[in-house]
Amino acid sequence: MKILKGIAYGLALPVILVLIWWASTLGTTNFFVPTPATLSEAFAETWFGERIFSDVLPSIGRLLVGVIAAIVLGIAAGLLIGSVKWLRDFTEPVLEFFRAIPPPVLIPVLMLLMGITDSMKVVVIISGCIWPVLLNTIEGVRAIDSVLSDSAHTYGIGGFARVRYLVLPSAAPQIMAGVRQCLSIGLILMVISEMFASSEGLGFTIVQFQRSFAIPEMWSGIVVLGLIGVAMSLIFQWTERRILRWYHGLREVENAA
């Protein structure tokens, strides 16, 4: 019963919205808004074919490579900078400035430096996504509980073990918050880099549809991007729950007290 109720709550509004959409496009032939039927038809026709291999998968591949590289680099550099005080003070203003630059302006810059290639798009994604991870890691490492840190020191835990068992877990909540930002920026940059300079990929295809006034196809492309976004956020939530299980538990205990 409880599960049924949950499903009903989850589905009610989407169903109502689709019904409204269907009803309002029933009699009209609005050029910009396709009916649900034409959209799903266009969706199946456009994306369940060769396009998956020629446009969708390469885009997703670049996104994954870029985001993973950004996360790894960001955490590694963040651990280093965060644990050395003078280095932190030394780099802080420059890093804050780089974070404040809106990432899309890097596209024309990198286009100039590297030309229009796959690696340029990956570098665009890396150079846009790395800042939230890097700065949050620095912040997380800096804010390690001093009692824990002293205890680890007293027990002679140092080097790799210290990073593995003290620094990384304490900084993990902050790092995950950075990764969440990094994912959404990554997706944005993937699309824009392809809209700006490309001859293939999701962003390019969607803009191409729009320019040739293939409206249902354009909408179906927007839906594909939406689905990728939703899938990424689901994967992230699942991973976060695994990595930060102890943290959420701790918070619950603290809130209950």
Binding site: V191, Q210, I222, G226, S233
Partner: protein
């Protein structure tokens, strides 16, 4: 804080001592930061001069900074900045108003929250840039295109925070307000609003950064007027130093927005413990 050991000193000296400490620490920190900036500029200056990267792709820092100061004297530059900031401000304002109204309505009703949850979780991760083709079709290269993207992207940042904030209301405070006979409006004003305010301010700060990203993006990709379009024009026109100068300018605007937002947050939340502790330590 360590206990003061200067009991023999006069009160004035005791008060000045803790003040001295941060004053002593801060300059070294700021000096290091300044040194960091200088080192970065030096590397940037040397890379093209030595020839690691050709100067026509990456002009030395001195050229770009000179160009930036040159831009500061041009009306066209300030017009572009004004257009970007106008889109940023209008978009942010609309998004915040919409998110606050909807957030308070939906957040304060258990039923509405449950019903909208799945839809919100589906719509939120949709990247706003997916709407670019739609914006072009509907509005062309006008400010409305930028506004559409900015509002969509920053709305979710604020909306989610407001939802969390409204849900965070202390039960005891709420019951107390009820038993003292506070009406619905008064409860929202004196119980819910102060609880949600820190969340709201966090949301607004995040949204301000996102709105700038989207404003520049829209100008860059769609070509609506503003700094982004100037960057794109400079790049395709081969005015490389000019392009780098504009990129620097967007970064400066970003830093400025961050600073202003943090200042506003500190002012509006001066009563809140998260800010109070920051001031004391």
């Amino acid at each position: 804080m360590s206990a003061p050991t200067v009991t023999t000193d006069s009160q004035g000296a005791a008060a000045s001592r803790p003040r001295k400490r941060p004053a002593k620490k801060r300059p070294t920190k700021q000096l290091l930061g300044l040194a960091g900036i200088l080192a970065f500029l030096l590397v940037w200056e040397l890379v093209p001069r030595v020839g690691i990267v050709e100067a026509r792709f990456l002009p030395p820092a001195s050229d770009v900074i000179a160009m930036l100061f040159n831009d500061f004297g041009l009306t066209a530059f300030w017009v572009a900045v004004g257009e970007t900031m106008l889109a940023w401000f209008l978009g942010l304002l609309m998004a915040v108003l919409l998110a606050v109204v909807l957030g308070f309505i939906i957040g304060s009703s258990n039923f509405l929250r449950k019903v909208t949850n799945s839809t919100v979780e589906f719509l939120r991760p949709i990247p706003s840039v997916a709407l670019i083709p739609l914006a072009v079709l509907l509005f062309g290269v006008k400010i409305e295109s930028s506004l559409m993207l900015i509002v969509y992207a920053s709305f979710w940042q604020v909306f989610i925070q407001v939802l969390y904030g409204v849900a965070d209301v202390d039960n005891v405070a709420m019951q107390t307000a009820k038993s003292y006979g506070l009406g619905r409006f008064a409860r929202v004003r004196y119980v819910v609003f102060p609880t949600a305010l820190p969340y709201l301010m966090t949301g607004v700060r995040l949204a301000a950064a996102v709105a700038l990203i989207l404003a520049i993006t829209a100008e860059l990709v769609i070509g609506s007027p503003g700094l982004g379009r100037e960057i794109s024009l400079a790049q395709s026109g081969g005015a490389i130093s000019g392009m780098y100068a504009l990129v620097l300018a967007t970064g400066l605007i970003g830093v400025l927005i961050n600073l202003v937002m943090r200042f506003i947050e500190r002012k509006t939340l001066s009563w809140h413990s998260s800010i109070r502790s920051e001031v004391i330590v």
